[in-house]
């Protein structure tokens, strides 16, 4: 087996990104608690979370994406409802931030949940 040891991988021109054959790395992910107050448990590529209102949050990215057409995935669980927790993007999305809401699927009311997870895939600027 061959092994390459290096600290940085760049394309042969010295600046462009390398191509990972048929693979793509997530550009940001975050795990945060919003049930009592905003608390980020762990993250990558996320600078901060805005608490805009009950069940309404802004996720700010450390490094900007090349456009606002990147993909966001989100999941909730934990208090107050494991099974009725839904999240969706609000459409307020820039290259460096996106807005999400979290709600009770049974009533449609916005709620704060204690486990919020979001992933971002796309191209960085």
């Amino acid at each position: 087996m061959s092994e390459l040891r290096t600290d940085t991988i760049t394309a042969s021109d010295g600046t462009s990104p390398v191509t990972l054959t048929k693979q793509s790395a997530a550009k940001a992910w975050v795990s945060f608690d919003a049930y009592t107050s905003i608390s980020v448990s762990e993250s990558f590529g996320v600078s901060s979370i805005d608490d805009d209102a009950t069940g309404d949050f802004g996720v700010n990215l450390s490094s900007a994406m090349s456009a606002s057409t990147y993909a966001v995935q989100g999941t909730l669980d934990g208090s107050p409802y494991d099974n009725r927790a839904l999240t969706s993007a609000t459409g307020t999305k820039t290259s460096s931030a996106f807005d999400v809401v979290t709600l009770n699927a049974n009533t449609g009311g916005l709620l704060d949940f204690d486990n919020n997870y979001y992933l971002v895939h796309g191209d960085l600027a």
Partner: protein
């Protein structure tokens, strides 16, 4: 275009830290941080089974709509981010099904997580359902 064919990439200064340049060239990021550490596509109808996956050692069917996923390589802590999506041909398009981590009853650990599928728009506290198509992707730091 130049191409290096190699089986393993390891950080020279720190084994788990390789920096790559962004698509636009304006930023750099750690390659390892962006890689999904676990993903799975699995079925809970009948005998629960994994269709395809990475870094999963086993799937245990705990109950209707509930399975425990065990990792081959553990995370460094239990704060990893999870994204899930349930589905199934027998489910009405009007139904809202969620697939969530059951952390309240079975807290996730560095080595396992318990996921449950249920109707979210049911007045009952939890109406569990064995969904046929369950997709999960987890990001975080491996041990």
């Amino acid at each position: 275009m130049s191409e290096i064919k190699v089986d393993t990439l390891t950080g020279k200064t720190s084994a788990g830290d390789i920096t790559v340049t962004s698509e636009g060239g304006a930023a750099t990021m750690q390659l390892q941080q962006g890689l999904a550490k676990v993903w799975a596509a699995y079925n809970m109808t009948g005998t629960a089974s994994i269709k395809d996956s990475i870094n999963i050692s086993s799937l245990v069917d705990n109950d209707i709509g509930e399975c425990q996923i065990f990792y081959s390589n553990s995370f460094s802590n239990a704060n990893y981010a999870t994204a899930t999506c349930p589905g199934g041909a027998a489910i009405s398009d009007a139904a809202i099904i969620t697939l969530t981590a059951l952390d309240s009853s079975t807290p996730r650990t560095t080595g396992l997580i318990r996921l449950g599928a249920a109707y979210a728009n049911s007045a009952a506290d939890r109406t569990k359902y064995d969904t046929a198509f369950n997709d999960a992707t987890f990001h975080g730091d491996l041990a």
